[in-house]
């Protein structure tokens, strides 16, 4: 399931990241913020009013804000 479709407040794990669809800079920043397959992730908040963009997610122990178009490149799996 893509990160932008992940239900809020449910523990999940990053399964894969499609680095190719991301602009270099964003891929690089994503990596240095600790986004990687196997890392625990959880969607926390969605953006304001009707846009529901950007997203606030918890990756590892860090809270990160990112836009849905980037989140769409991150494939996640809900923990059961």
């Amino acid at each position: 399931m893509q990160l932008d479709h992940l239900p809020l407040n449910r523990a999940a794990v990053i399964r894969a990241i499609d680095w190719d669809v991301l602009p270099d800079q964003e891929g690089h920043r994503l990596r240095s913020l600790g986004f990687e397959p196997g890392v625990a992730i959880e969607a926390l908040h969605k953006g304001i009013l009707m846009w529901r963009d950007p997203l606030a997610v918890r990756v590892g122990r860090m809270t990160v804000a990112l836009r849905t178009n980037v989140a769409a490149a991150i494939d996640c799996e809900l923990k059961t």
Partner: protein, 617 residues
């Protein structure tokens, strides 16, 4: 033999509490300058070992890795690797780690440790980690990393002495240089996460303050309401809280002026002191309270961790004009002053977005415009209320801020569309945990801002005031000729040339006169007007009354409103133009900026004037 004190660099991820630790170690004895060749701010200070030997400390910009994706990060890399020309390589590193965020921060620490410099790790903010239910084993972490690890709480000064002691030891026994390219990014990440997991002693659910606060402050509707309320409160406070201290400063200068008038014989020198120096500089220093209140809010928002939430809330709105939440923070800082705002754009990754942000930063109503707005609003807008706790004057001020913002949004969308031709913007940012701002850090920040402002008042504004006084005082109008001194002076004649250009937008001769020195800095317009009216006053008594009533008697409301509209847009600040040139490496963009802003100012003042006139004002 004299020896330079060892240089120690504090380095770590953004939001690891690095600056708080730096403040705690060096106290108020800090020097702010730039790194050689780049405009990144270099903060340095002195700490001392137990035996009194000094250590020079520098606070490197926060970074996520030695592979930079912003100007700030590039400086951190160059300093750590010793590649920054004209800057010596640090003798040792203090790596500042956020204890509550080891999983994400440890990878950068491993990269830094591999550089082989003597290194001590400060495991910072352990109290916040414990608040969130996380207990760590510092000794185990130290064994895994191969360098000393000291638990610190910078804001409570915990662990500072052991940190300095370990640093002293580390400097004595240099480590063998490692092999920085030995392992890949991915492998480093894996190792970082393994270590992070292994040093956890216990982990309970904790109270998760940050998450609970975020569910309110990032709420899709509530979050917007809170941000707008906060901004409104901020601007009301700037106006309301400053009234009393401004009164004190005003009476102080009035006393000083009276004392000089009493002590010196009437003449050129007395006129120079009272009409020139005191009227000019005094009318600017009077705005120090408002500037400090504004900076207080911005420093509090930054230190508490709310600033990135504001960026989150604003991201979609900014995206509508081709920018992102990243631009929001520099633009908000520009409300205090465009110069730190423009310098804060260095954290924006996208270069086109960065340029667009720089170009619109002067449209944010900086504190230097407040003196102008305050005088005009005070003179022309009645101090009535339009609702519970909402004053009409505050509302007009708020309206001026909004005009600047709307102008900026319009400019940004045009610039991003036609000038930088940017396709997309991006928003990707770490949101730190909330924490109580520490009083000392805020006080230090405020003091540094106040000092910069007073130095400006004491130099640029002082010089501009004196030059203007001279231009206004010479040549002397002949006695009994009936020609006013202002009209007869050099400045009056320059203004004569300018007047036909600004007459169509409702500006009179005095405004044309005030605009000339106000090129140096906007707030000089007020001291210029004060000087003009003091000198033109029939006697000292008239000169002693404040500027507002004189303007109210002399200007039409339409002219006053046009004057306000002009200052919403006009790029009248030499420092801003200079910093734009530095940050964009050339004259092209500052010239573009000045041209488009003057055009906007002229149009806005003209439209305001003729609209007001058509309503009979």
């Amino acid at each position: 033999m004299t020896q330079m004190p060892p240089l120690v660099a504090l380095v770590g991820n953004p939001n690891a509490g690095k600056s708080a630790l730096f403040n705690a170690l060096t106290g108020a004895r800090q020097k702010i300058a730039n790194y050689p060749g780049v405009t990144v701010e270099r903060k340095s200070g002195r700490a001392t070992f137990d035996d009194g030997r000094p250590v020079e400390m520098i606070d490197l910009p926060g970074a996520y890795s030695l592979d930079p994706d912003s100007l700030d990060e590039a400086v951190t890399r160059d300093v750590v690797l010793g590649n920054l020309e004209g800057h010596r390589r640090p003798d040792a590193l203090v790596i500042v780690l956020d204890a509550g965020n080891l999983d994400n921060h440890l990878r950068f620490a491993l990269e830094l440790i591999a550089q082989g410099l003597p290194t001590v790790v400060a495991l910072n903010m352990v109290d916040l980690a414990e608040r969130d239910g996380l207990k760590l084993d510092a000794d185990k972490l130290s064994r895994a990393l191969g360098v000393p690890v000291i638990e610190t709480v910078a804001v409570r000064r915990r662990g500072l002495a052991p940190l300095m002691a370990e640093l002293e030891q580390a400097l004595k026994a240099p480590r063998p240089p490692g092999d920085p390219v030995a392992i890949s990014f991915g492998a480093q990440n894996q190792r970082a996460r393994d270590i992070a997991r292994s040093v956890i002693i216990s982990e309970t659910a904790g109270r998760q303050w940050t998450r609970r606060m975020d569910s309110v402050l990032l709420h899709p509707v509530g979050g917007v309401v809170i941000l707008l309320a906060l901004l409104f409160l901020m601007f009301q406070a700037v106006y309301g809280w400053s009234e009393a201290p401004i009164g004190w400063i005003e009476s102080g200068f009035a006393l000083l002026s009276d004392a000089i008038t009493g002590a010196l014989p009437d003449g050129l020198f007395r006129s120079f002191l009272t009409d020139g120096v005191i009227a000019g500089v005094g009318s600017v220093i009077v705005f120090l309270p408002q500037i400090l209140i504004l900076f207080l809010f911005i420093l509090l928002l930054e230190a508490s961790g709310y600033m990135t939430r504001a960026a989150f809330v604003m991201d979609r709105v900014m995206a509508a004009v081709g920018l992102s939440g990243h631009s929001f923070i520099p633009l908000l800082s520009s409300f205090a002053c465009a110069i730190p705002g423009i310098m804060a754009t260095r954290t924006i990754m996208d270069q086109k977005e960065r340029l667009a942000t720089i170009l619109i930063a002067p449209l944010m109503t900086c504190s230097a415009r407040l003196p102008v707005y305050t005088v005009i609003i005070g003179a022309f807008i009645p101090a009535t209320t339009v609702g519970p706790g909402i004053g009409l004057q505050g509302l007009v001020l708020f309206g001026l801020y909004i005009s600047g913002i709307l102008g900026a949004m319009l400019a940004a969308s045009v610039i991003q569309r036609f000038v930088t031709q940017s396709q997309t913007s991006s928003f990707l940012i770490e949101m730190p945990r909330y924490q109580w701002p520490r009083l000392n850090d805020i006080a230090l920040g405020l003091w540094q801002r106040a000092w910069v402002f007073l130095r400006r008042a004491g130099t640029i504004i002082f010089a501009a005031t004196i030059i203007l006084w001279a231009l206004l005082s010479f040549p002397k109008a002949p006695e009994g000729s009936g020609v006013s001194q202002v009209e007869y002076s050099v400045a009056g004649r320059i203004a004569d040339g300018l007047e036909p250009i600004v007459r169509p937008i409702g500006f009179n001769h005095d405004i044309a006169l005030a605009l000339i020195p106000a090129m140096a800095a906007r707030e000089v317009a007020v001291s210029a007007l004060a000087t003009v009216y003091a000198i033109d006053a029939a006697d000292d008594e008239a000169a002693a009354t404040s500027l507002g009533p004189k303007l109210a008697a002399d200007w039409s409301l339409a002219t006053a409103l046009a004057f306000l509209a002009w200052f919403v847009f006009a790029p009248q600040c030499i420092s801003t133009i200079a910093v734009t040139r530095r940050e964009t490496n050339g004259w092209k963009w500052p010239i573009f900026m000045v041209t488009y802003l003057f055009a906007l100012a002229y149009a806005a003042a003209g439209i305001t004037y003729w609209t007001a006139r058509s309503f009979g004002l």
